[in-house]
């Protein structure tokens, strides 16, 4: 029996009282340590007893009235480490955050994720994120992979969701229209809806399907052919009615503030001008989920165009106070066949009015000649090219794809480590990619396990005998950051400074693509190269490299304040003094190599650019460059006092002079409040060289 620890407290003479993690007071009992050690770590009874005794001795010396169970655990951990039982320590330790950090999160929130407002839901999310991130690094990933992330050789995205959810997904609305909607995936916890019988319900189902899916995914949720699949529901409606429906959908997705711990759904929709040829002969899903072979999507050309126009007009109007809609992101597909359609020019001028006012639209360029007729754009910058079995799904009314996980390679680090030696550089590149592959293979096993365990119910819904989510059909994404800085460190020149540097950059990314293609053949799974949306990685990796390779590291931004960043993916340095078209040609050359997704940015300097000129520029980009996906970003200043929205980043409101303003710009692939950006990204915002169309 334990001896007396504190003579002043008689009632504790025989037992030291323990505040356990179950919030109960229990008497200290050494045997509990023995039991838990054996159960949780699998070490031998002898060692467990030895440790428990030592722990008891240590605690006695402390002469405490109370001791908490977590503290006992930490003392046990020290004893495990003293015996070099590191694996056992890993299994026995606790996850969680220091009181100080919890207080910071509760009182201030964090800025690391640009999407997070400071509110009760996000406070819970951040606390949970902390534990889940630690769990991923400590338990799910082997030490060498966790270390590779911590050291900054690679960046594993969305670690907080690593052990629970895949990354992003593109849905086929036809499936929900035909079969109805179970938002919990099973219908056991929530009401079950049958196929929508009218347009209002179809619109709500579309919005709710994305919100429901978001609970099972870490990243973006997309709906391809959005206006096409909904066109049959618009039949017989006036334009005014259709516009009301468009408005309803956009408000739903920009106001449901409930996903992933208090955020809007990270959503996007693809908008087509009319019904593209590839859809025209497909039997249409009609109200009530009815399908008749005699009625195809080609019969709803007019409705599809009206709906596309209505959606665009809603984006143009903005919300009640005149702010833009940031979600769902509208992707406009540019197809060669569109140019022959009546009214296309007029429609695109309308789209470019939205560009001029808010910068909201994104463009998918099917004219560049390397993207197939049908591409999926979703999330920050994913363009997923379909293969033959996808076409089968497309015909069968449930085409679906996405990315399982993104892991980014820190390219500049490789340059620092290879000391100008090409061979070494390519060797290290492959080595780092292999680390990324290991991470993603672990992720695959985890997701399969979760599906078996029933913790991804939206993903395990049945689609003609298959699960809704097919782990081996989605892509495995390997991203990269800082090609520009890699080139500067390795060749002495930045991407835009010489044709040779550019060429070497292309060789690096082509090597990555070749390796990914080899792996795809080897594994039968889809390995792709993607231009990472690196809102936090570009800052984190630059900071780490600055510390580790001081004197050698090439970073952008302000070294003194730590507001540093790497240039995203294979972009030209944002502050480089390069004419727009030159920049786009350099960047466009990389797009065909990034088969897992790409994006280029045009930073607009004017506060009211001319929509006609913008449309001319769009046509030029589409026909003269290989840019596959891009957006025009217009910075905006919103006045909290008078609600005035003006173009550009301004310290005070041009209308009322108030300095109570919020800025909006694209952080990477989406618009966000600048106050949520990290220091590196903020610096980048001010470094961006903007263009004037004149």
């Amino acid at each position: 029996m334990p001896e007396t620890f504190d003579t002043e407290y008689d009632h504790n003479k025989e037992f030291l009282t323990v505040r356990t993690s179950r919030n109960m007071l229990e008497s200290f009992d050494r045997r509990k340590i023995v039991q838990s050690l054996i159960k949780e770590t699998g070490i031998s009874k002898e060692i467990a007893e030895e440790i428990a005794l030592e722990v008891e001795e240590t605690i006695k010396k402390l002469k405490l009235k109370f001791i908490s169970a977590p503290l006992i655990r930490e003392i046990v951990n020290v004893k495990l480490l003293e015996r070099r039982l590191e694996d056992a320590r890993r299994d026995y330790t606790r996850l969680g955050l220091p009181v100080y950090d919890a207080t910071q999160i509760i009182e201030k929130g964090v800025r690391e994720n640009a999407n997070l407002q400071h509110n009760p839901e996000t406070i819970h999310k951040l606390v949970a994120d902390w534990v889940m991130k630690e769990y991923a690094l400590l338990k799910a990933l082997p030490l060498h992979l966790a270390d590779a992330h911590m050291r900054g050789e690679i960046h594993i995205h969305d670690l907080e969701y690593f052990v629970t959810r895949p990354y992003c997904f593109q849905h086929d609305l036809r499936w929900f229209l035909k079969n109805g909607l179970k938002v919990d995936g099973t219908g056991e916890n929530t009401a079950v809806a049958g196929p929508a019988k009218n347009a209002e319900v179809a619109i709500l189902h579309a919005a709710k399907a994305l919100a429901a899916a978001q609970t099972n995914f870490a990243g973006g949720q997309g709906l391809d052919f959005f206006n096409v699949w909904l066109a049959p529901y618009m039949a017989g409606k006036t334009y005014k009615e259709i516009k009301q429906l468009a408005q309803m959908f956009i408000y739903e997705l920009s106001q449901m503030y409930v996903a992933r711990g208090g955020q809007v759904v990270f959503s996007d929709i693809d908008i087509e001008y009319g019904v593209p040829k590839i859809c025209q002969d497909l039997p249409a899903v009609l109200p009530g989920g009815v399908v008749k072979d005699s009625i195809t999507y080609g019969d709803f050309e007019e409705e599809a165009i009206m709906f596309a126009r209505a959606l665009t007009e809603v984006y143009l109007e903005g919300d009640y106070v005149g702010k833009p809609f940031f979600f769902p992101k509208p992707n406009y597909k540019l197809r060669r066949e569109c140019f022959k359609k009546e009214g296309f020019d007029e429609f695109m001028i309308l789209v470019h009015k939205v560009v001029a006012k808010y910068g909201s639209p994104y463009f998918l360029n099917l004219l560049a000649g390397y993207l197939p007729d049908n591409v999926f754009a979703q999330c920050c910058r994913l363009v997923l090219s379909p293969d033959n079995t996808d076409w089968e799904d497309f015909k069968n009314g449930c085409m679906r794809t996405g990315s399982l996980q993104v892991v980014t390679i820190n390219l500049p680090r490789i340059a620092y480590e290879s000391n100008g030696n090409d061979e070494k550089l390519f060797e290290l590149l492959e080595e780092r990619m292999k680390l990324a592959r290991e991470v993603i293979e672990i992720k695959r096993d985890i997701i399969l396990k979760r599906m078996k365990q029933g913790s991804l119910p939206f993903l395990t819904q049945d689609v003609n005998g298959e699960p809704y989510y097919r782990v081996d059909k989605v892509v495995r994404s390997i991203g990269f950051v800082g090609l520009n800085e890699m080139l500067k460190a390795h060749t002495g020149e930045e991407l835009h400074e010489s044709k040779d540097a550019w060429r070497f950059g292309l060789e690096v990314i082509k090597r990555m693509m070749d390796i990914a293609m080899e792996w795809s053949e080897e594994t039968g799974q889809r390995w792709v190269i993607t231009q990472t949306p690196a809102e936090s990685a570009s800052h984190r990796l630059a900071l780490l490299d600055l510390k580790e390779f001081n004197g050698k590291a090439v970073v952008q931004g302000d070294v003194k304040t730590g507001a540093v960043y790497y240039t995203n993916s294979s972009h030209v340095r944002v502050s480089a003094d390069v004419p727009l078209f030159e920049r786009l040609r350099i960047e466009g050359a990389f797009h065909p190599l990034c088969n897992g997704g790409m994006m280029a940015h045009v930073w607009i300097g004017e506060s009211s650019p001319n929509p006609e000129l913008l449309w001319e520029l769009t046509k030029k980009i589409a026909t003269k460059t290989l840019i596959g996906y891009w957006a025009y970003t217009k910075d905006m200043t919103f006045c909290r006092d008078c609600k005035n929205l003006s173009g550009g980043i301004k310290k005070s409101c041009p209308n009322c002079g108030s300095s109570n303003v919020e800025w909006y710009s694209r952080v990477t692939g989406y618009y966000q409040r600048v106050s949520g950006w990290n220091d590196g990204k903020r610096k980048e915002l001010f470094d961006r060289k903007r263009v004037n169309l004149g």
């Binding site: 560049a368 000649g369 292309l506 082509k510 050359a589 026909t623 003269k624």
Partner: protein, 82 residues
């Protein structure tokens, strides 16, 4: 300045484009070159070409993934030579 045709082994339109480009090059006294985009993808990418057949005059890509008529091609080249 050179007239360059970007080609690919199995491209059905390429022989047609090559024939036209060769004729035009001869008539105008231009140097002529063919680049196989599979063998030298990076050069093609630096021209912002990823589809065949494509035709460039000097640095400028005149046609991407399509075959012009002889007249169209000539016209575009003459515009640039001015």
């Amino acid at each position: 300045m050179k007239l360059i045709v970007f080609t690919k082994k199995d491209c059905p339109q390429c022989p047609n484009a090559k024939a036209i480009a060769k004729e035009v090059a001869e008539e105008l006294g231009l140097e002529y070159e063919e680049i196989d985009i599979e063998k030298d993808l990076i050069t093609a990418l630096q021209f912002n070409v990823a589809s065949t057949p494509s035709i460039a005059f000097g640095e400028e890509v005149l046609f991407r993934g399509e075959v012009p008529t002889k007249e169209q091609l000539k016209q575009e080249i003459l515009k640039l030579m001015k």
